[in-house]
Structures are given as structure tokens and as C-alpha cells.
């Protein structure tokens, strides 16, 4: 009997520990974001990307500079997020719209922008590494969520990219329970066929 009790207790502790660890991880996101609190994003070289969380991109595109420091609206680049299921990836044209003139402040950013210009010159699209990949059997209509939560709601799922030098996955978008929590909280239907068809 004592053994049984021990076993049960142990499991409980273990679970609690895991739960705590997870919470810690998510809070860690916040702290890392808090690291660059000032409006001007820190100066980082492409070489630093290795230290940063998230996958390395072909071009070291800084959301913290574009969306954070310069306060460019998400929808300026992700143009279809409010009207379509897909958020839309900015076309080369969109990038060059600014970067024809903007060449970058420091050597690091200059180098990155040069990559962009070369790609544009050769009409080669840049293949960004995808960070959020929602399983194909679940349908997430972006526009409806933007409609419901407002144009700045992106952070709800994608985290505060305005503070991310390199974007990383804050939430596992394929964790169904995480979607459900939000739907329950906001008393939105959690009927299966709302997302799965």
C-alpha cells in the first residue's frame, strides 16, 4: 500500500514539475522579448542569428526593426490577412518598394538588403523558412480572427514579433487544446466542423 501511495505521489509531482517547466518556458519568451525593451532595436549582425531563437532565414529580416522600431503595420506586408484565410507573404515588389531607396543603416543590415536587391535583380523569389505550419486537416481563416480580435491581434498566436529580431515559434499552433482554450474563453463555438473539414 505504501508503495502504491509513493508511486501515485511521484507521478503527481512529476506532472506538476512538467507543468511548471512549460509555464517557465512561455515566460522565458517574455523575458527574452523584454531584453530589447527600448524602441530602437539592438544592432545585430547576421552572424548573431545563430544565438537567436527561431530558424535562420535566407535573409536576416528583422521584424523588431520593421514592425517594432518603424511601427510598420503587419498588414502592410501581410496584405490579405484581413480579407482571406491566408495572411499573404509580401511580394518582392513590396520589399523593393522601400528598399530601392533604403539601403540600411549599418554594415550588417546593408549586407542583408544587398541580398534582397540581388534576388530582385535576378527575379529569384526568396524562400523563407516557414515557422508556423498548421496541419492541413485544420482550417484557420485568418480574416475572421482579425475581424473578431482586431488588426493587432496577431500577437495572440504569433507572439510579440515587434520584439523579435528573428521570429520564432511562441505557440504550437497545432496544439488543439490551445485553440480550444481561446474559443472557450471567448465563448466561440468549438464544434469540430468549424475547423475540421
Amino acid at each position: 500500500m505504501r508503495k502504491l501511495a509513493l508511486l501515485a505521489g511521484g507521478t503527481a509531482l512529476l506532472l506538476a514539475g512538467v507543468g511548471w517547466a512549460v509555464r517557465d518556458a512561455s515566460s522565458a519568451v517574455q523575458t527574452s522579448a523584454a531584453g530589447c525593451d527600448s524602441l530602437t532595436a539592438p544592432t545585430l549582425a547576421a552572424g548573431d542569428t545563430a544565438r537567436l531563437r527561431g530558424p535562420r532565414q535566407p535573409i536576416f529580416f528583422r521584424h523588431d526593426i520593421h514592425a517594432g522600431q518603424y511601427k510598420i503595420q503587419c498588414q502592410y506586408c501581410h496584405y490579405s490577412v484581413a480579407v482571406a484565410t491566408e495572411p499573404g507573404i509580401p511580394s518582392m515588389q513590396t520589399c523593393m518598394g522601400c528598399h530601392l531607396v533604403i539601403g540600411g543603416a549599418d554594415s550588417a543590415s546593408k549586407a542583408e538588403i544587398r541580398k534582397l536587391r540581388e534576388a530582385s535583380a535576378q527575379q529569384q523569389p526568396i524562400e523563407w523558412v516557414r515557422i508556423h505550419y498548421l496541419a492541413r486537416h485544420a482550417h484557420f481563416p485568418h480574416m475572421v480572427h482579425i475581424k473578431a480580435l482586431g488588426p493587432t491581434a496577431c500577437a495572440t498566436c504569433h507572439g510579440d514579433v515587434t520584439r523579435m529580431p528573428q521570429v520564432f515559434k511562441v505557440n504550437n499552433v497545432n496544439n488543439m487544446g490551445w485553440c480550444i482554450d481561446c474559443h472557450l474563453e471567448r465563448t466561440v463555438s468549438r464544434d469540430c466542423s468549424v475547423c475540421h473539414y
Binding site: V83, T85, E86, G88, S91, P125, Y133, H137, H139, S193
Partner: protein, 1004 residues
């Protein structure tokens, strides 16, 4: 899948840049895997009309047959994903047939050539650059090799004109050839009315329709338009419906939709028509005055005389004639491919006389709107002769496949081989292209600029709806480039591209209408072409030739005991459908056979010959032999053996090659004739001891008195009876009530209590209740909805072997039940029931699922959550309608070989192996509409959601909507007195209401 390495032929890099989001479109294939590294590939240049996640629709024109229906091409992320009817188009008005929808699989056909090819010295194919290819063509046609011949199947239009000029400029000879060209009809019109053209028929106004072997619902002239008209006339509305009688040796789909089928002896349609005309004239029921002149001509054709010829009783003919004459206006049609025997012109002429005598000409039969069609078989036959004589130096074949379409007996292959340099523009290596020296693959109609003159006042436009899938080139550009390379006289073909040439032609059209060219062009482009009212029909009078009508009977060669009937099927048409998996797997509406060719025998004939179903029989005619499994069909006249056309390709891609037997092999080549006699020979049937299980999707063709396909006679329908009452009114007897009042109350109370117990969570509050109404009086069984469902819902085609195991995945199937026809003299009757998930309120499939994968949504859908399904298949066992389909193998991996996977609808999950799937009422369309309404802050309106099947149905037999919305069409239709539920006694409460078929029953 999108992140695969580029595969041969497909211009992937370019494709992805158009795609916007790699994987966005096609990785739907990835089923349930989420961990694969994905790339996001942005557009280089953002096009205004492409927003990822929102379909863009382009108007275009269908090229799958000569009818020229208008298309709406739905594209997503730069891929065409579905073909739908253009609502503005005068011919198909937003609907589309199965063949038209399968055009998409012509675009994405795995058999498409990646670029120009030429035969090397060793006879192998070598890929060329376009420059090289065009140089070779220019050298041959321009370089004095001369004696150019061009065979073109291109319909009337700017391209056809260009080709004609181009050929003429090179001193060549152009043969415009379309396999099913209805030459006898035109000849008969020439003879009887002095008009060298095809009429257009107004089925919608006809009150009595007699078809003499004209399969106007399948392959004759413009099937979709005719089906729309037929549904309007023959579909029951407020106590009225037209009567339809079919006269012919085989009950085709058109025959199955007739109220009466008269199995006349093959080739005797003419005498029946003449006898009817005779009766009408004799009884003077209002024939035009000049028809009296025919009395003498028709005198010999008494019903008794006709009866002796055709096997119908004289009384039947008389009755038919009277009904035909008394119903005004009526309509008689003929000239189907299956009845095209050597004397077919006289049959068509006879029917012309019949229509004229009954006063239908100018009423339901109008002339002047249709354009002069192709040159007909005669011209091709002439060309074959010259080729055989070695007088042709270069032959260019465009949008035609004569080496398949002309019977071997004509010896075209040898004649063709005599031509030193042969060129084809086929985009798939068909029989003709395979015999050529140079292949210059043309763009698919959805990839190029083109137009099509369909009939007077109607010109359809085609525009590129996406980047070319393969390295093909529009033949228009090839012609122009070749001309410019040759120079000299050819220099006048100066347009840089065919697009420019086309725009110039349309500028001319604009000028004629004194409109601003750019505006005119843009409007036409958005509309899908130029749709103007047809000109007023000319007054038609009998020509001198009318006196020459008569009946000589069919002239059949061969000494066999059986008459051989070759007929085109709704799916494969002249054989061009044979490389489309959708069409091969969509069962032939009559026999329900897929992926195979077959030989039809009447059960009695089979008994005499001791042949069983599936036994491989050999048919031997003077011209060749054919082997195929036997299929016993009471709808074919005894003494007649029938086989479908369109099978037995020797090339034409992986799906078509070597599939089934080619019925043309048995036919006379028709040398020296104006048209090909499809009904030309008798055959001997030999038994081979071989056996081949017939891959048909039907289990038992009889509904055994189970109330699945209900029908009632017109008088009962007029009384407003429901199917149950009608049943008892016909069979005598009375419906006995099992439940007493108190029991019924108890049941109601129980139901109420249950309802209360189900109002938790998402189920609380008000919701729509999606429902469907299917009018069996309009459904013709054409199966267009089936292909629409495949296209919309990414349904995999499983192939012959799996169909033989009964594993086809068609969420929507057309069940075809036979009534009667068992005792001699008893009429055979066919009924069609589109069978799909009934989304039952008390669904038996739901409670048995251990994981809630099958459950009921608040808006009344019977949902299937693929990613929750573990595959116990209990739901399918417990489904009384058997409309659930299981992924026995990884069909999602095998059904969409590149580039077919580009057709997949990104809004619908592609189901992985081991899960159950079924009709969802196009839930993705429902959710899409709901989202749109949400964005626009408005409630959902009736008609916002249309299911794929309802949208495609040419008969308008399917109505979908919210049954809780008092204003919805569906709710109103469901209240019709003909409404019933299939297997109602099971109390599973389906939301699909069928409206019973209504029939003119012949009182014997």
C-alpha cells in the same frame, strides 16, 4: 507535394512564384503530417487579381465538345481548381456536364507533353527547342515541299480563320473535321428545306417529344442546353409535364428518361416517322397547307406497313402520331450517332417531314442560328484517298485524332504513313501524334487566348487562367512564327502573337458594333464572350427534295445473326474522354460500368447464346473483331448487340492506352461516303471461355419494393397525392396505421425530451438546418453532379481493380433502378436516384463511432472528422444508405500523379489512408459563406451556399438551403406533396427530401 524536387516537364519554379505560398495550394496532399520543413515562396510581382486564400474566377469557353458551353474557371493561388458553368452563357446558364468539368484533367493530364518533339533517325523521340521545331515546320511547309494538307478539329473562330488563310496562302488543303458531325441531319435539311445547316431545338416549349435514336441528353448536338430544355418541359410543375417517347433499338440514357420506349428494329426510324406523318396528314390535325402535297408520297407508309418493318404495333404508331399531333408544339428529333446507318439521311428527312407536318418547324425547330459546321467525313475521306495516292507532302493535324476516330477498315494508317512529313499539335501523344514526325504541343484551352463562334450572335472567349503547366506553345503563335520565318507571301501574317491577332479581330467586332474596342474587349472578357440574341429565324418551306422522302431500310453488310450497334457514351464521347480518370471512374449512366468497355446483350439473346455476364465474347464482322466482357441489358433490342465507342486507345496517355476494345474496329470504313455509317454491319458472336468481372458500381438493379426511388403517374400527381398515397392508390389496399393516438403522443413527448437533452454547449440557441431537395422528375441521371463532387471535394479515383472490389469513393452516386421489363410485353422502366449522405437527424452512423469522429453539428450536418477517425468502419456498416467511403489504401498518394495534384481544392482536406469519408454538403462552402457574411456584418442569405452538385446540375434538380429559414427555396421545395425520404420507415430522419418522379403511364 509542393516541396518535392522539381519533376520532369512541369515548370515548377515559375509555378511556385505564381503560387504565392508553396504548399498553400498543393500540400493539402500532406494529409496529417505537420512536421515537414515548409518554404514560403512569395510572389515576385503581386498580381491584383490573385489574393491567396480567395478564389479568382475567369470566364472561358468549354472545348470538350462542339456545343461550346460557357465556363467559369475557379482558380486558387494561380491554379485552376474547378470548372463551372458560366451563368451568363445562353447555352449552359451556369451548369456544366461531366465531360466539361473533366476538361480540368485535360489541363493537368499526366500524359501531356513537356515540349516539342521530333522523330530521330532511329525513330525515337527527341526533345526540341521551339525555335528548332518552328524552323523545321517552316522549312517543310514553306520550302516547296508543298502539297500541304491540314486536318483541323478547331471549331469556328478566329483561329480557324487564321488556319484557313495560312493554309490557303501555302497552297494547302484544309479539312475541318469533327468526328460526330451529324452530316445526315444537314443533308436532310438540304433535301427537305433547302437549308445546309443544323437547326436548334427548343425543348423547353415542346409538349410532346419524340426522339428517333437522337441521344440529346448525352452526345447529340448541345447536350447541356437540351437537358436544360428537357428538364423545363418534362419536369413536373403544377400538374403539367411534356411527354417523351423514345424510338430506337437501344434504351440510351435519353431513352431511360422517356415515358415510353419503343424498341424499333435497327435502322427503321424513318418508316415510323413517315407512318406518323401519314396518320397526321390523314387525320388533318392542322398540318401546314403545303404539306398536303406529301399525301401521295406518304400514302404507302401506313401504320400497318410500318409495323411490319419496325416491330412496333400499328396501333402504337397511330396512338403516338395522334398524341404527337394533338400536343402543340411538339418536337421530333433524330440523327444520333448510334442510328447513323448508310440510309440515315432518309431517316432525318422523314423526321423533318414529321416535324413539318405537325407544324413544329419554326416553333420548336428553328433554323438560322447555328453556323455551318465542319466539312464532314466526306472531305476527310477524300483526303485519305489523296494521301493513299502519295499526293500529300506534309500533313498537319490540329485538335483531331483521325487515326483513332476513323475505323481501321478505311486504311487511314497506311495512307497516313505514305505522307513524308507529318505534324501534330496534340498536347498529349495520341494515336495520330504518335504516327507523326513532329509534335508541336498546343496550349490547353485554359492556358491560351482563343475564341469560338458557337452560333449566330454567340462568340465564346478563352483566356489564359494560369501559367502554362508544360512547355507547350499556342498553335496560333506557331502558325504566325512559321509564317514570319518563311516570309515572302507569308509575311502578311505579321501579328507578333496570336493574342494580338485575336485582339485585332475583336477590335473589328467592336467596330462593327461601333463600340470602343478596349471597353468592348474588357466587357467580353469578363462576360466570357459576346452573347447576343440570335437573329430571327427565316421562314421555312418545303423544298423540292421533300418529295423524295421515302424508306429503303438499313443496308447492313456482314452475314452474322446480330446487328451491331456502336454508340458514344456520355463520359467518353468520341474517345477524347478516355484519358480523364474522372470520366473513366464516373459510371456510364446506363450500364454503371467504369474503366472497362463492354458488349451489351439482351438477356434473351444471351440465354439463346448461353452467355453469362462477364463472359468475354468475340464479335466478328467483315471488317474486324472485338473482344469484351458481356453485359446483359434488357434495354437493348433482342437480336441487337451494342458496344460503346471511345475505348481501345493504343496511345493517348497512361489512363487511356490499352483500356477496353475499340468498337470502331468492327465498322465499315465508309470509303467514298459523305458520313461514317456507325450502324453498318451484322456480327457473329463467338464465345471465348474467358471471364472478366464487370467493374460496375451497381449491386442489385431492382429496388425490391423498398421505397427508395418513388414514382407516380401524372393523374395521381395532379390529385396532389404524396408517394405513399399514390402507391396505395395504384396497388389498391390502404395504408394501415400502426400507432394509436396515445402512442404517437408518447413518441412525440419522448422526442421532445430528447431534444431538450441535446441542447448543451454548442447546441444551445438558434442554428440553421442545412437541407437538400432533389426533384427526381427533373433528374436525368446524367452524372454531372458526380464529377462536380469529385472536383470540389478532392475525391480520389481508385482505378479498375479497386472498383472491382466495390471501393469507389464517389460521395455522390446515381443509383439506377429498373422496374418491370421482366415478363414479355411488360415495359422496362429506369429510375435514377442521386444517393448521397442524407445527413440524418437520427443518424445511425453517429452513436456507433467510439471517438465521435462521426457526429452531428449544431447546423444539422452529419460531420465526419477525418483526423479523429480511427477507422473502425462501424459507421459505414450502420449506414442504411451506404454512402460512407473508406480509404482502404493511400489513395491520396496514387490518385493524383503530377501534375494532376494541382487540381486539388485547398479548402478541403485530402483524406489519408485508414479514415472514413463522405458527403459533407460542401461544408467548406458553407463555412466560406459564413465567414464572408461575418466580414460583411450581414446574416447569411438564401442562395449564399450552393453545393457543387446543385451548381453543376443542368436540370436544376437539386436545391440546397437552410430548412429553418422560412424564406428559403429548399424549405418551400421540401413541402411539395411529392416529397418523401428514402427508406422513410427506418425513422432516421434524413434532411434530403426527394420529390417523386412523375410519369405518363401508357394505358394498354
Amino acid at each position: 507535394m509542393a516541396d518535392d524536387t522539381p519533376s520532369n516537364g512541369i515548370n515548377r519554379r515559375k509555378f511556385l512564384t505564381v503560387l504565392g505560398v508553396a504548399g498553400g495550394g498543393t500540400a493539402a496532399l500532406s494529409g496529417c503530417s505537420t512536421d515537414r520543413v515548409q518554404k514560403l515562396v512569395p510572389y515576385l510581382v503581386q498580381s491584383e487579381d490573385q489574393v491567396p486564400g480567395i478564389p479568382t474566377v475567369y470566364a472561358s469557353t468549354c472545348t470538350e465538345c462542339a456545343a461550346g458551353c460557357g465556363l467559369h474557371v475557379r482558380t486558387r493561388e494561380g491554379r485552376a481548381i474547378k470548372l463551372e458553368g458560366n451563368p451568363a452563357h445562353p447555352i449552359n446558364a451556369g451548369t456544366l456536364c461531366a465531360r466539361g468539368q473533366a476538361g480540368l484533367q485535360g489541363l493537368y493530364n499526366p500524359g501531356r507533353l513537356s515540349g516539342p518533339m521530333a522523330r530521330g533517325a532511329d525513330g525515337s523521340w527527341q526533345e526540341l527547342t521551339w525555335e528548332d521545331a518552328i524552323a523545321r515546320l517552316a522549312e517543310r511547309v514553306g520550302g516547296g515541299a508543298g502539297r500541304l494538307a491540314v486536318i483541323s478539329g478547331a471549331g469556328e473562330g478566329t483561329f480557324a480563320d487564321l488556319l484557313a488563310e495560312w493554309t490557303a496562302a501555302l497552297g494547302g488543303r484544309l479539312v475541318r473535321y469533327e468526328p460526330f458531325d451529324h452530316e445526315p441531319l444537314r443533308a436532310a435539311n438540304r433535301q427537305v428545306f433547302g437549308l445546309d445547316q443544323l437547326p436548334s431545338h427548343d425543348f423547353a416549349r415542346a409538349r410532346h417529344i419524340v426522339s428517333f435514336g437522337a441521344d440529346f441528353l448525352e452526345t447529340w448536338l448541345a447536350p447541356v442546353e437540351q437537358q436544360r430544355g428537357f428538364a423545363a418541359a418534362h419536369g413536373y410543375r403544377d400538374g403539367e409535364m411534356a411527354k417523351h417517347v423514345y424510338v430506337g433499338p437501344r434504351m440510351s440514357l435519353t431513352g431511360m428518361n422517356a415515358d415510353e420506349w419503343h424498341a424499333s428494329a435497327p435502322g427503321t426510324e424513318a418508316v415510323v416517322a413517315l407512318a406518323m406523318a401519314h396518320v397526321i396528314l390523314a387525320e388533318r390535325s392542322g398540318a401546314p397547307s403545303d404539306a398536303n402535297a406529301l399525301r401521295g408520297v406518304l400514302a404507302p407508309y401506313t401504320p400497318e406497313m410500318a409495323a411490319g418493318e419496325c416491330g412496333l404495333s400499328a396501333d402504337a404508331i397511330r396512338l403516338l402520331a395522334r398524341e404527337f399531333a394533338s400536343a402543340r408544339p411538339s418536337l421530333a428529333v433524330t440523327g444520333g450517332v448510334a442510328m447513323q446507318h448508310r440510309g440515315a439521311v432518309e431517316a432525318c428527312a422523314a423526321v423533318n417531314i414529321l416535324n413539318y407536318v405537325a407544324g413544329n418547324v419554326g416553333e420548336t425547330v428553328r433554323f438560322g442560328s447555328r453556323l455551318p459546321a465542319a466539312d464532314g467525313y466526306g472531305a476527310l475521306d477524300g483526303l485519305i484517298a489523296t494521301m493513299a495516292a502519295g499526293e500529300v507532302g506534309v500533313v498537319l493535324v490540329h485538335e483531331a485524332n483521325p487515326l483513332y476516330a476513323v475505323p481501321k477498315a478505311r486504311g487511314l494508317a497506311d495512307a497516313f504513313a505514305k505522307v513524308p512529313f507529318k505534324v501534330s499539335t496534340a498536347s498529349v501523344l495520341d494515336e495520330t501524334a504518335a504516327a507523326c514526325d513532329l509534335v508541336l504541343p498546343n496550349h490547353h484551352a485554359l492556358e491560351r487566348w482563343d475564341d469560338r463562334r458557337i452560333r449566330a450572335g454567340v462568340v465564346g472567349l478563352m483566356q489564359p487562367v494560369m501559367e502554362p503547366v508544360m512547355g507547350s506553345m499556342p498553335t496560333g503563335d506557331v502558325l504566325l512564327k512559321t509564317a514570319q520565318k518563311i516570309g515572302g507571301v507569308m509575311a502578311r501574317f505579321a501579328a507578333p502573337t496570336f493574342e494580338a491577332h485575336l485582339k485585332a479581330a475583336w477590335a473589328e467586332l467592336a467596330r462593327q458594333r461601333s463600340a470602343s474596342a478596349p471597353v468592348f474587349w474588357m466587357e467580353a472578357l469578363q462576360r466570357g464572350g459576346l452573347y447576343e440574341a440570335p437573329p430571327a429565324p427565316p421562314g421555312v418551306r418545303l423544298a423540292a427534295g421533300a418529295e423524295r422522302v421515302g424508306y429503303t431500310g438499313p443496308d447492313l453488310d456482314g452475314e452474322g445473326a446480330l446487328v451491331f450497334l456502336a454508340y458514344p457514351t456520355s463520359m467518353l464521347f468520341d474517345g477524347r474522354g478516355a484519358n480523364r480518370p474522372w470520366l473513366l471512374e464516373n459510371p456510364d449512366p446506363v450500364t454503371k460500368i467504369t474503366w472497362q468497355s463492354w458488349v451489351e446483350l439482351h438477356p434473351d439473346t444471351a440465354k439463346d447464346l448461353d452467355v453469362r455476364e462477364g463472359e468475354i465474347v468475340r464479335l466478328v464482322s467483315p471488317h474486324g473483331t472485338l473482344e469484351a466482357p458481356a453485359y446483359l441489358y434488357a434495354g437493348v433490342r433482342t437480336g441487337v448487340v451494342a458496344a460503346p465507342l471511345g475505348y481501345g486507345h493504343t496511345e493517348y496517355g497512361q489512363y487511356a492506352k490499352g483500356r477496353g476494345a475499340n468498337a470502331l474496329d468492327l465498322l465499315d470504313g465508309g470509303a467514298g461516303r459523305a458520313f461514317l455509317p456507325y450502324l453498318s454491319t451484322r456480327v457473329r458472336l463467338e464465345r471465348t471461355r474467358g471471364y472478366q468481372k464487370v467493374a460496375k458500381t451497381e449491386g442489385n438493379p431492382r429496388q425490391l419494393g423498398r421505397h427508395i426511388a418513388e414514382a407516380m403517374s401524372l393523374p395521381l400527381a395532379r390529385q396532389g397525392l404524396d408517394p405513399r398515397q399514390a402507391h396505395y392508390a395504384e396497388t389498391g389496399g390502404t395504408p394501415h396505421e400502426i400507432n394509436t393516438e396515445r402512442e404517437l403522443e408518447a413518441i412525440a413527448g419522448f422526442a421532445a425530451a430528447q431534444q431538450a437533452a441535446t441542447k448543451l454547449g454548442n447546441y444551445a440557441g438558434e442554428h440553421p438546418r442545412w437541407g437538400m431537395v432533389i426533384d427526381l422528375a427533373r433528374c436525368t441521371g446524367c452524372s454531372s453532379c458526380v464529377t462536380a463532387c469529385y472536383a470540389e471535394n478532392n475525391i480520389p479515383t481508385v482505378g479498375e481493380d479497386e472498383v472491382l472490389r466495390g471501393r469507389e469513393m464517389s460521395w455522390l452516386r446515381i443509383e439506377r433502378y429498373f422496374e418491370g421489363g421482366e415478363e414479355p410485353g411488360e415495359p422496362l422502366e429506369a429510375r435514377f436516384v442521386p444517393m448521397l449522405c442524407q445527413h440524418c437527424g437520427n443518424a445511425p452512423c453517429e452513436p456507433v463511432c467510439p471517438v465521435y469522429a462521426a457526429y452531428h453539428t449544431p447546423d444539422g450536418l452529419n460531420a465526419q472528422v477525418y483526423n479523429r477517425c480511427v477507422g473502425t468502419r462501424y459507421c459505414s456498416n450502420n449506414c442504411p444508405y451506404k454512402v460512407r467511403y473508406f480509404n482502404w489504401h493511400a489513395y491520396n498518394k496514387t490518385a493524383f500523379p503530377e501534375p494532376l495534384h494541382l487540381q486539388l481544392n485547398p479548402d478541403v482536406t485530402v483524406r489519408a489512408r485508414g479514415v472514413m469519408e463522405k458527403c459533407t454538403f460542401c461544408v467548406q462552402r458553407i463555412r466560406g459563406a459564413q465567414h464572408q457574411a461575418r466580414l460583411e456584418d450581414r446574416p447569411l442569405a438564401d442562395g449564399d451556399v450552393v453545393t457543387a452538385c446543385a451548381q453543376a446540375c443542368p436540370s436544376g434538380a437539386i436545391v440546397f438551403g437552410d430548412l429553418n429559414d422560412p424564406a428559403s427555396r429548399a424549405r418551400a421545395a421540401a413541402a411539395d406533396h411529392r416529397g418523401y425520404h428514402a427508406l422513410e420507415d427506418l425513422n432516421v430522419r434524413p434532411v434530403i427530401t426527394y420529390l417523386a418522379k412523375v410519369q405518363h403511364r401508357t394505358e394498354a
